[in-house]
């Protein structure tokens, strides 16, 4: 078993980092994400939001891995998260659902507002292979190396979304995006705080990735 933990400090406050984290798919650093679905979502009595997402990721087996054991290099990943807007904490756990004998990667990540108004991300991962055949250690080491590289890419993805959110909040002009093209309410309808010119950030951002055709 390999264990890994790392902390990272974002200069931005918790609400925007958390938003970026949940908006992180798709981004150019996450081309391996094939699909992402919410399979359950509830608000608790204490006001937290619990979400379960099912994500399909494309992977690649290392060249030294025996052929014919893993028929497809895709993996279903379950992600369970809790968002507490009052305590300003996001907790999120993920693990793969298939190929678990070859390797199971469990990740726990937390985003917490610091007293300075920044956001501390703490990540922990546990990597276990039950493969045997003298390859267990090698698989776990490979998994750890990949996990570290992916964590770096994932952070670059969140940072990219973060900078787009920041820019779109600075520019209250719309980017020509009809807000109700899909028949859903515009983001502005949801503002609960009129002191901040952030209405519709998401709606605008959406069209940067998916220009209306």
């Amino acid at each position: 078993m390999k264990f890994f933990s790392q902390s990272f400090l974002y200069d931005d406050p918790w609400p925007i980092v958390s938003l970026a984290f949940f908006l992180r798919y798709p981004n150019p650093y996450a081309a391996h994400v094939i699909s992402c679905d919410v399979i359950s979502r509830n608000q608790t009595s204490s006001g937290s939001l619990l979400t379960t997402r099912l994500i399909l990721k494309r992977g690649a087996m290392p060249r030294w891995f025996p052929k014919g054991i893993v028929s497809r290099a895709e993996s279903w990943v379950i992600e369970e998260s809790e968002v507490d807007p009052h305590g300003m904490v996001v907790r999120c756990r993920t693990k793969n659902l298939d190929h678990v004998k070859v390797m199971q990667v469990e990740e726990a990540v937390e985003f917490r507002q610091t007293p300075e108004g920044k956001t501390l991300q703490h990540t922990e991962a546990r990597i276990v292979s039950g493969f045997g055949w003298g390859l267990t250690k090698r698989i776990e080491n490979h998994g750890l190396t990949r996990f570290k590289a992916n964590l770096q890419r994932s952070r670059e993805g969140v940072s990219l979304i973060l900078s787009l959110l920041r820019q779109s909040r600075l520019q209250p002009i719309t980017l020509g995006a009809p807000t109700s093209v899909l028949g859903t309410p515009s983001a502005g309808d949801f503002s609960n705080d009129t002191s901040q010119p952030k209405n519709g950030t998401w709606t605008k951002l959406r069209y940067w990735f998916q220009p209306p055709s």
Binding site: D37, V83, T184, N192
Partner: protein, 103 residues
């Protein structure tokens, strides 16, 4: 927004994501409310707001995705994963309030 695992559900997922994300952006920034009764009121208000704006599309998307999950046999995979290695309950919220709940 990433695709749905079922092409059939992708249009509903896009509608739902658009609606949810707009709601979520506001949800993340509650006006500073210190007491637990204010928090409870805030939660209720956000839940009602979500239901009013996104409830219908969420129900449609959820039905679609639940059907797709079954068709692809993923429900068994999910259940198996939970039995073999139950996902832990998320830890309780940090102790920031020590006063009693009023509701």
């Amino acid at each position: 927004m990433a695709n749905s695992l079922s092409a059939e559900c992708t249009p509903l997922k896009e509608k739902y994501d658009t609606c949810f994300n707009a709601w979520f952006e506001g949800y993340l920034e509650p006006a500073v409310a210190a007491s637990s009764s204010e928090r409870a009121a805030y939660s209720k208000q956000k839940a009602d707001e979500f239901e009013a704006k996104c409830g219908k599309v969420w129900q449609q998307y959820r039905e679609c995705i639940q059907r797709a999950v079954k068709e692809k046999g993923l429900d068994k995979l999910l259940q198996q994963a939970r039995e073999e290695n139950p996902l832990k309950e998320p830890p309780p919220p940090p102790v920031v309030q020590t006063f009693k709940k009023t509701s």
